[in-house]
Symmetry: C2
């Protein structure tokens, strides 16, 4: 088994010993996790039962206090609510006396719960059987991302409870405005810049398995700009200026509703897919060299059917498949209508000519688009087509895209974790979704940002949002998720 000269043999022997020690330590922690499933699950339930709907300012501060108590319980000294112009950031520093320091980024806010179709109350933390996964926690925030926040803390507590030390120092950062576009998070970064800069990498605990158990890891996100377009008769000078009037007056009075619809219709092709705003695509880059290599691998393993099934989508745009669909998903900026409303929207046949109509729109930014270019281009488009009366209401400042190289040691630490669990992860250059990761991996911090975790959930921003908690289905449950966080921290502590 140990061949070669004495020095070599001893070196190999010591290496093996190290691996064995590592494995024994992990086994001890994993055993603890297995033994404390019920207790750990109840902590997830506690967190999702605390509403924290940032769009409605519902339960935000109560949830921030709950998260602060979690940081205190873990052993952070003086965990605090860092006030911003908006909702506070919860910050805790755990000093393990370790060489490496990792920022763990969390969000404690969630989307609203008004969407119809929930089969269980969205704030009760019910565990129900969801085929084919087995027991799942079905609740708002289950996967996006209270489930992971609490599972990560369960993992850290398990390391300590098993008599070991957390292998890295942790800067725990939980923000309360992620679903509002993290608009005031930069205030926190500015205030804590000196401290945050000491970290080696940022880790966002997530659940990377798709519904079949395949591990899918994203190395970045698109950026986002979110705004409302609004037309009121008062601003226009035509149409009803103060209230909705009797619908029969359309014969001689202008309609802000028709007018906004006409304006919107100039923004896309007939199928709603190609954006006709001047310069909309001009800064969108095709895949760079590293992305092209990742994409070539991704094409081979991309499970199109599962992606569609999860969203209940029968066809992609223009019936595209494989590489073409992936190119749209990854490298196409999008102009999306999130919602539209005006006039009478109840049952029956009330006849009114609405005085106001509003549409919620977001633009997703791909490399190398800039946040600052979006609103001026929308404005210029509206003006060019004569719609100067339509108002753009910026709901957030927006934030840019963010990408971490697959060659970053932090990215490799996550990938190594998956391999140690027996998975060959499917690596995506980035995700079409958005998160404020650019606030970490651009100026002033310039830190690598990685996402990871072995588990599964679905329906973020939709009814019946879930995270798998029981083991035995096609994906990991809560125990596996926590074990993967333990391992990721261990591998992050060893990155060179």
């Amino acid at each position: 088994m140990f061949r070669g000269d004495g020095k070599e043999i001893i070196s190999k022997f010591l290496q093996e010993c190290n691996v064995m020690v590592k494995m024994l330590k992990r086994a001890k922690i994993f055993h603890y996790i297995d033994q404390h499933y019920d207790e750990h699950l109840s902590k997830l339930q506690e967190l999702v039962r605390q509403p924290s709907i940032s769009a409605e300012n519902r339960g935000i501060r109560e949830c921030a206090e709950l998260v602060r108590s979690y940081f205190r319980d873990l052993g952070c000294k003086n965990p605090r609510l860092v006030e911003t112009s908006g909702f506070p950031v919860v910050y805790g520093h755990y000093d393990a006396g370790a060489e490496r320091t990792i920022i763990a980024y969390f969000m404690y806010d969630t989307q609203p719960v008004d969407d119809p179709g929930w089969k269980v109350p969205p704030l009760e933390g019910k565990v129900v059987n969801v085929a084919p996964f087995g027991g799942c926690l079905v609740a708002r925030g289950a996967i996006n991302t209270k489930g992971e926040l609490r599972a990560f803390l369960n993992a850290c507590e398990s390391i300590l409870a098993a008599g070991e030390e957390i292998p890295v120092n942790l800067m725990l950062v939980a923000e309360g405005e992620e679903e509002l576009g993290s608009r005031h998070f930069p205030e926190f970064v500015e205030e804590y810049e000196g401290e945050l800069k000491k970290a080696d990498a940022v880790f966002f605990p997530y659940a990377d398995q798709n519904q079949k158990g395949k591990v899918v890891n994203y190395l970045g996100v698109k950026g986002i700009v979110y705004f409302e377009l609004e037309l009121e008769g008062k601003a226009w000078g035509y149409g009803p200026t103060a209230f909705d009037i009797h619908g029969s007056n359309k014969a001689w009075v202008d309609s802000p509703a028709w007018r906004l619809i006409q304006a919107l219709s100039t923004m896309t092709t007939r199928d709603g897919n190609k954006v006709l705003i001047d310069g909309f695509y001009e800064n969108a880059l095709p895949p760079n060299k590293e992305d092209a290599a990742l994409l070539a691998n991704l094409e081979k393993t991309f499970d199109e059917d599962s992606a569609k099934d999860l969203m209940k989508v029968e066809r992609f745009i223009k019936d595209t498949h494989g590489r073409e669909a992936l190119l749209n998903y990854l490298y196409s900026p999008s102009l999306n209508i999130n919602g539209i409303w005006g006039g009478y929207t109840g049952p029956g046949t009330k006849t009114v000519l609405p005085h106001k109509i509003t549409v919620k729109v977001d633009v997703r930014l791909v490399p190398n688009m800039q946040v600052e270019e979006v609103i001026p281009k929308i404005r210029a488009h509206l003006n060019k087509h004569g719609f100067t009366e339509i108002k753009i209401v910026e709901l957030e400042e927006g934030y840019g895209w963010a990408k971490t190289s697959v060659n970053e040691p932090a990215a490799q630490a996550v990938i190594k974790t998956y391999q140690e669990f027996g998975y060959n992860p499917e690596i995506w250059p980035h995700l079409a979704g958005s998160a404020p990761f650019c606030m970490f991996n651009r100026e002033p911090l310039n830190l690598p940002f990685v996402i990871g975790g072995l588990g599964h959930g679905g329906r973020p921003h939709a009814p019946n949002e879930y995270i798998v908690v029981e083991e035995g289905g096609p994906t990991g449950g809560l125990r596996t998720l926590e074990k993967s966080y333990v391992t990721i921290l261990d591998n992050l502590s060893r990155m060179s």
Copy 2:
């Protein structure tokens, strides 16, 4: 004073006596009305406090029973609820032993009360000072048209209480689905055709004064067809098919919202005013000879500023004025968006790609358009532009336009009433609004249909709907309204 031969003198003397007797009778009834204002007002309040929102099936049957009790109190024998496939029609027959028989048409249903901006609760029947009118009843149904229903019954009761007899037999007909397009009213007409045909005319008690006190009388109405256009991903085969998905997926998934907006945009010119549906205008006639004569007079007295002020509209379409604006109002069919909704419409920045979007649309029909032509033309337009996946949901069957000639004796009886009160009425060939009058003045009944009453109200289908109840402002109050109904009935009894 009385010149001529003996026969002539006696004849003139008897005529004068008749006029004096008529005036004395009216004076007695008017005095009774003046003495019972508080009691009469409280009856209006009682009626508006009983919800009867047909679109929501709220309070309908309770209101029908209340109206039935009114008919019984007046002295109708066996007033009844005539059941239809929808809400019942309340029917009462009052036999005065008179030569003439008049159908009094009422509606006991109202619009919903969900519109924001009410300064008093819409179902409490509050009387508040509204400048420049003085005391007004501000409530849903105040002017459209519970106020008039009850005022008309107050007038009839006052005739009897003053010791006189109602000068015509009355067929009292109150329907509960006017705001739903009177969809089941034809069932009642069919069942009671034999009886209804015995009537000489139909009278709809209304309040014909504008906010300055000018009397404005409408000889007809436009027709209406009301429907929803709906696009669901499921029907389309593209886009999310089951629920709203994460908004970032717009990059590779189609949007029913963009698609419906594109479809809608093909239906009008850029300003939303000219309808581009093939054949939409082909049956719309210009004013006929009688209308042209009425229009020539109308132009002279039309108070454009008041009309605009009432609606809080600064400009008509294309800045039209006078005759041009009137031609639009009266002879232009309209395609109106009553409401539109889809996706997330709450506060903040929830990002979803909606799976469904709906728009409520109505078409107003002018002579000589037919109800039956509307939906096929909309369908053909959508199909022609490739929007075969968009569903048309017909919310009601619709009903046609209706017009009564100014030369009809019933119309002249109403006009004579205004003249007796010292007003020179402004006669409109018809109204842009719709009511199911065609069910009376077309086959099988073929009865002249007239609207009338001296009073004022506003904001039908809008918050703070009101009817003036106190006297002393620029318009008549409740006492004048009731007196005008007394006089109209008298003049209808004398029509030749």
